[in-house]
Structures are given as structure tokens and as C-alpha cells.
Amino acid sequence: MVDHFDVRLVKLARQGDQEAFADLVDVYKDKIFHLAYRMLSNRHEAEDIVQETFLRVYKNWERYDEKQKFSTWLYRIATNLCIDRLRKRKPNYYLDAGMNDQEGLDGYTLIPGDERTPESEYLLTETQQTIHYAIEGLPAKYKSVVILRYLQELSLSEISDVLDMPVTTVKTRLHRGREFLRKKLQHKVL
């Protein structure tokens, strides 16, 4: 159903229908933003990525293969832009990033209903922060795989389409990324 809706919007947008394009932006902006935020840990940069992603979509419609899912193509563009940014970052900036940008840390997301107590709020915020930093510390090549897996819940073969690499490579990276996170979280959260 959602896919069908997508296909129609994509068709119209490709033909130059600006309203359909704006609808596509509306449907996907938060997903791309979330992906970029998890990759870059910076709200401002993440918004830049969203903008740049849609600009590329607009300029490169002729490269889009309609047999492929639109979301896969979109994730591919966004992920590549994020990886480029991570590469260009100076190492010291990389370490600083995210330290003063905590907007993404929402301490409430794990608490069910109204059972919040000040202690649990505090603990969960700590937990979330720990996870946030653990993800941030992931080397870029594991990061993209891990984020696509846990944030977008893509299957291994979908991730292989997005990142344009063999499923075996995706597997290896996911396994290493998972081990990396396990070790980071070992004594803090688990």
C-alpha cells in the first residue's frame, strides 16, 4: 500500500510535478534526517544532508531505476553523503562532535506509560547517552551498516543494495559492529 503510493508520487515527481516532489520530501525527510543524525551526531549537519539528498534526487531522476525501491535509492544517496562528510571531518572535530549537541537524546523513549520516576529517568538518560556515544564511536564503515539495520530495520540484502556491496561484506561489518558495541556497552549498561 505504502509502496504503491510511493510509486505514484515518484512517477509524478519525475515528470516535474513540484507538489508531488514536495510530498515525497515530506514523507521521507524525517527518516533521512534520523539516519543522518545517527551518522553525524549533529542536527545542523543532518539537515544539510536531507537538503542535499533531495537536491541530488531532483537532479538525477534519469539515474533512478524504477525497478528499485525509491527508499533504497534515497538511503543510498543519503548514506554516501554522510560517509563523505565523515571522511572530510578533521579528527579533532570528529571527537568533539555530539558533545554539545544533545537534542537527539530523548530519555523518555524507553519508559512505558506513566511509570516514570526521577531515578529511572536519570538512569535511562544515562543509558541512552552511553548507547549514543557507543554508536558515535563506531568506525564509519560499520556505522552505516549498523544504523541501516537498527534504525531503518533493513534486511541484509536491502543493506547490500543501499551500500552497493556484497551481502557477505554487509554481514561481516554488521557482526564486527555488533561486537564493537557489545564491548563498549559491556560494563556500562548490560
Partner: protein, 205 residues
């Protein structure tokens, strides 16, 4: 099974790709090996935490982002501005139709000069047949191509801009136009100018 093999199977399990005999042998190893059991528990919990934390924290981009993006994309529809105006103002457009009658004489004047004009630095590869100007597949026009009062059919490559004035164009799937494609309808744009200006005059009278 050794512990290294067990670790690899744990990941297969977390990837939802471990079934049957292999799943059973992992289970057997975990029952006998406390360190793998610990390892597995940690992996499973890390995975749960990741799903819960990443997936359920809802982050959203700022609301004005859509506007900003729509403003940043190059608008190719500028030539059609009059058409959008017509769509938005049907009543005024109907009134404008009356004025059309008055303007007919001027339009026919406009149309009297309607011979085919093809402009470009490199026209060797362009095939002209009647009012149809064709860039055949496999051939390349260096620089811009302008076609006035005719149809442009592009199968090959145009390295510059394609401009069609008072005509139409067809772009085959094999076509490659590196520059901008513009379609200018002089009569309509001019007519449009006249109509809007007439209205302004009427409104202020």
C-alpha cells in the same frame, strides 16, 4: 564446536539466519560453555538496546525544511508560470477569453513570421526535414542548439542548451542534453503579458 565457531553462529542467529541443525548445535554449545553463554547474553542485550534506543527515539527535521528544499531545487517550470496562474484564477481566465478576440489581429501578426530557424555553432550533425530538426542517435552537437518555429527531435547528444521557441521538442530515451532544456512560447508569453496588463488597467480605472 569451538568457541569461535559458536560466536559466528550467534551472529547468524541475530541476523535471523540460523535454523535447524546449526541452531541446535549452538544451543548445545551454549549449555556447556559459560563464557559463550555470557557472550551471547551480552550480544542479545546490546541488540535489544540498539533497537529500542535508535528505533524508538523519534527525531524529526525542522518544519521549514520542506520549504527550504523546495526553494533550493532549480525550477524548470518558470516558462509555464502563466499556466499556473490560469489554473488558480479560472474566473479571470474566462473573462480574459473575451479579450482574446480583441487581440486576435495582433496574434496573427505575430504568427506571420513563422519560418523555421535553426541556430547553433555546430549544425553538421543536425538533420532538417520539413519543420523537424533531428539530432540522430549516435551523433553529437557541440554547444547550444536553438530551434524556432519547428520540432526538435533529440536522439543523440547536445552538449549545450536546447532552446525551442514557438515549437515543441521530443527527447528520446537515448538523448543526452548536458545543458538546460527551455521551451519558450513567445506568442503565449506575450499574450499573457498583454492580458495581465489589460486587467491591471481595467482594475484601476
Amino acid at each position: 564446536m569451538d568457541c569461535k565457531q559458536a560466536t559466528s553462529l550467534m551472529h547468524e542467529y541475530l541476523d535471523d539466519e540460523l535454523f535447524g541443525e546449526e541452531a541446535l548445535s549452538l544451543q548445545r554449545h551454549l549449555q556447556e560453555c559459560p563464557s559463550c553463554q555470557m557472550h551471547f547474553k551480552e550480544l542479545e542485550q546490546a541488540e535489544l538496546m540498539l533497537f529500542a534506543t535508535i528505533k524508538r527515539s523519534s527525531l524529526s527535521a525542522s518544519d521549514e525544511l520542506v520549504d527550504r528544499i523546495m526553494k533550493s531545487i532549480p525550477s524548470q517550470q518558470k516558462q509555464r508560470a502563466w499556466l499556473q496562474w490560469v489554473k488558480r484564477h479560472p474566473a479571470l481566465t474566462a473573462a480574459a477569453m473575451f479579450l482574446l478576440v480583441m487581440l486576435f489581429s495582433t496574434i496573427s501578426l505575430w504568427n506571420s513570421d513563422d519560418q523555421l530557424i535553426v541556430k547553433g555553432k555546430d549544425l553538421d550533425h543536425v538533420v532538417i526535414n520539413g519543420r523537424t530538426v533531428t539530432v540522430p542517435s549516435g551523433s553529437k552537437v557541440a554547444g547550444n542548439l536553438t530551434v524556432e518555429n519547428g520540432t526538435a527531435e533529440i536522439y543523440g547528444e547536445v552538449e549545450g542548451n536546447l532552446t525551442v521557441i514557438d515549437g515543441s521538442y521530443y527527447q528520446a530515451s537515448t538523448a543526452k542534453i548536458l545543458g538546460e532544456v527551455r521551451s519558450i512560447d513567445q506568442a503565449l508569453d506575450w499574450l499573457w503579458y498583454r492580458i495581465t496588463n489589460t486587467f491591471t488597467e481595467v482594475a484601476y480605472r
